[in-house]
């Protein structure tokens, strides 16, 4: 049978980061996967060398639009490691609240898109409906739906007014019925199980070999989470569970993310309660950053964010290294997609939560003739048709 190459990507208005996947297929089966990236390389590490430390925190917030507070948290952790800064307790709770709100809206965004790709457009609409109130809470606290600009070395920029807490608490409580709905929908739906169980399996060995992070690692039974391993912000001060699953398939990744959202709500509520009793400063008022080097980490919705800063004692870093979690997670697709079918490729590529919306630009090209056979819409249609087929087979 003739082998064909399916190019996936690189651009789509919905996707978080542009990437380009080349699938080498034989019939339905994926034989090889080649990944190309760099379409969105903005030279932020180089730009950071020309910005003052205060500006750098705003700059790294722009690394990612979805996990926009994870990078500033890693940055302030690195600066605090470099300069041995102690952060006031109240600021720690505020940091955790913002970080967990971000995890909630990021996981809901992912859940919606994952639903769309397997043909569950109702899940998509509902997930995004329940994401809206999360953004409203972010706006209430920081003034912004995204890019909260809350972090600064030694504390946070804005306080949470204690008079606002009952209202915010109510908004957070209102998220729970939505989460229950998704948990029920995913756990009980036989077709979602057929489409995701045993699909795109990533083994524990692969996770270790590729250094995969976050929910991608935790769904394969590797219990790593910076919030537990090297506690920062308020995570050591509140009660919460680390969620892991052993299966490593797409289903496990969905379950890990949904259960993490419950933990996020738990963390936010405890932090809000603590804010009522912990008063005081929210800023250690850092004057200067001494020469030296610092490493800061944070657990973003997708995994560990890693920042390294070297200072020569001036007001600007002389080297700023950023490593986002998808950088380690995306190469794992070389293991999880290969061997599967084309109609499962979209949801498998999606499962590490990178930018699976690239699939909109998919085109199947015959290697010999160079003729286009399938478009991006066709590929999503194939995936959705498989779900419909499975549904009707169950009815018969």
């Amino acid at each position: 049978m003739a082998k064909t190459i399916i190019p996936v990507g690189p651009y789509h208005p919905l996707q978080e980061e542009p990437e380009f996947f080349k699938l080498l297929v034989e019939g339905e089966k994926v034989l090889e996967l080649e990944i190309e990236l760099g379409y969105n390389h903005r030279g932020i590490e180089k730009v950071a060398e020309s910005k003052s430390y205060d500006q750098v925190i705003f700059l790294v917030e722009r690394v990612c639009g979805i996990c926009s507070t994870s990078h500033p948290i890693a940055c302030v952790n690195a600066l605090e490691d470099l300069a041995d800064i102690k952060v006031p307790e109240r600021a720690l709770y505020i940091r955790s609240i913002i970080a967990e709100l971000e995890r909630l809206h990021s996981h809901l965004l992912w859940l919606g898109l994952a639903g769309h790709f397997i043909g569950y457009n109702t899940v998509w609409m509902w997930a995004w409906k329940y994401r809206e109130p999360v953004l409203d809470i972010c706006e209430r606290i920081s003034g912004n739906r995204n890019h909260y600009a809350m972090m600064k070395a030694g504390g946070v920029r804005r306080d949470i007014d204690n008079n606002d807490i009952p209202h915010i608490m109510k908004m957070v409580d209102n998220l729970l019925p939505g989460l229950d709905l998704f948990m029920g929908a995913v756990m009980d739906d036989p077709v979602i199980a057929l489409r995701t169980k045993g699909v795109g399996v990533l083994t524990k060995e692969d996770v270790i070999e590729y250094g995969a992070l976050g929910p991608t690692a935790r769904a394969s039974g590797v219990a790593i989470d910076v919030r537990k391993d090297e506690p920062y912000a308020a995570y050591p001060l509140v009660e919460w569970k680390l969620i892991t699953r052993e299966e490593g398939d797409v289903f496990a990744k969905i379950v890990v993310r949904i259960l993490e959202m419950y933990e996020a709500v738990k963390i936010i509520k405890q932090c809000l309660e603590k804010l009522k009793i912990v008063g005081g400063e929210i800023d250690a008022k850092v004057k200067e950053i001494p020469p030296g080097e610092g490493i800061g980490r944070g657990e973003a919705p997708r995994g560990e964010v890693f920042h390294y800063i070297r200072s020569d004692g001036s007001n600007r870093p002389i080297r700023y290294k950023i490593r986002a979690p998808s950088y380690m997670n995306v190469p794992t697709n070389q293991k999880s997609v290969v061997g599967g079918t084309v109609s499962d490729a979209t949801i498998t590529l999606a499962a590490v939560d990178p930018c699976y919306c690239c699939t909109e630009r998919v085109a199947v090209v015959d290697k010999k003739t160079g003729k286009k056979g399938l478009t991006g819409q066709d590929l999503i249609r194939l995936s959705q048709e498989k779900t419909l087929r499975l549904k009707s087979e169950r009815l018969e």
């Binding site: 990236l37 760099g38 390389h41 030279g43 590490e45 180089k46 490691d81 041995d84 270790i208 070999e209 590729y210 250094g211 995969a212 790593i224 910076v226 391993d229 090297e230 506690p231 030296g292 080097e293 610092g294 490493i295 980490r297 560990e304 890693f306 390294y308 070297r310 002389i318 080297r319 290294k321 490593r323 950088y327 380690m328 190469p331």
Partner: protein, 142 residues
């Protein structure tokens, strides 16, 4: 925990360690000669269960400095292996044959700093556009 990790590395490579710097209880920096890096990396990854978080390349004007950041997740410790290589002929053995996850990290450092990783299985550009001129390295200071 961090002391145990450091003690074990010191035990294994007592003669090869050039310098140890303990920045804080969870941050250890150890200097090695560039020729010892594959052996040390292999020990940290295979024997001690370290996870390669990333590697940082820095142009220090005289040399190219490479830091391999290993995370020991159960104790939250980060051990950074530091090595200096000659800027005129920046060459070092690739660690991708040992750790698959290092492939992109080395490719990125190759194109941005011009470090030649010997025996890398796929040392081509990762981020830069194909029209970018050969021999120009964005993160070099010159």
């Amino acid at each position: 925990m961090a002391e145990e990790i450091l003690a074990r590395i010191k035990d294994e490579f007592s003669k090869k360690i050039l310098k140890v710097f303990e920045k804080s209880p969870r941050r250890i920096y150890i200097d090695f000669d560039s020729k010892d890096i594959p052996q040390v990396v292999s020990f940290l990854f295979r024997e001690m269960g370290g996870r390669l978080a990333t590697a940082t390349g820095i142009d220090t004007r005289k040399n190219i400095e490479i830091l391999y950041h290993f995370s020991f997740d159960s104790s939250g410790t980060i051990v950074s292996l530091r090595t200096l290589i000659d800027k005129k002929n920046p060459e070092i053995e690739s660690i991708t044959p040992i750790i698959k996850g290092a492939e992109w990290i080395e490719r990125e450092m190759h194109e941005l700093l011009g470090v030649n990783f010997k025996n890398h299985p796929n040392l081509k550009r990762l981020l830069l556009f194909e029209d970018w001129p050969e021999g120009k390295y964005p993160l070099r200071r010159e």
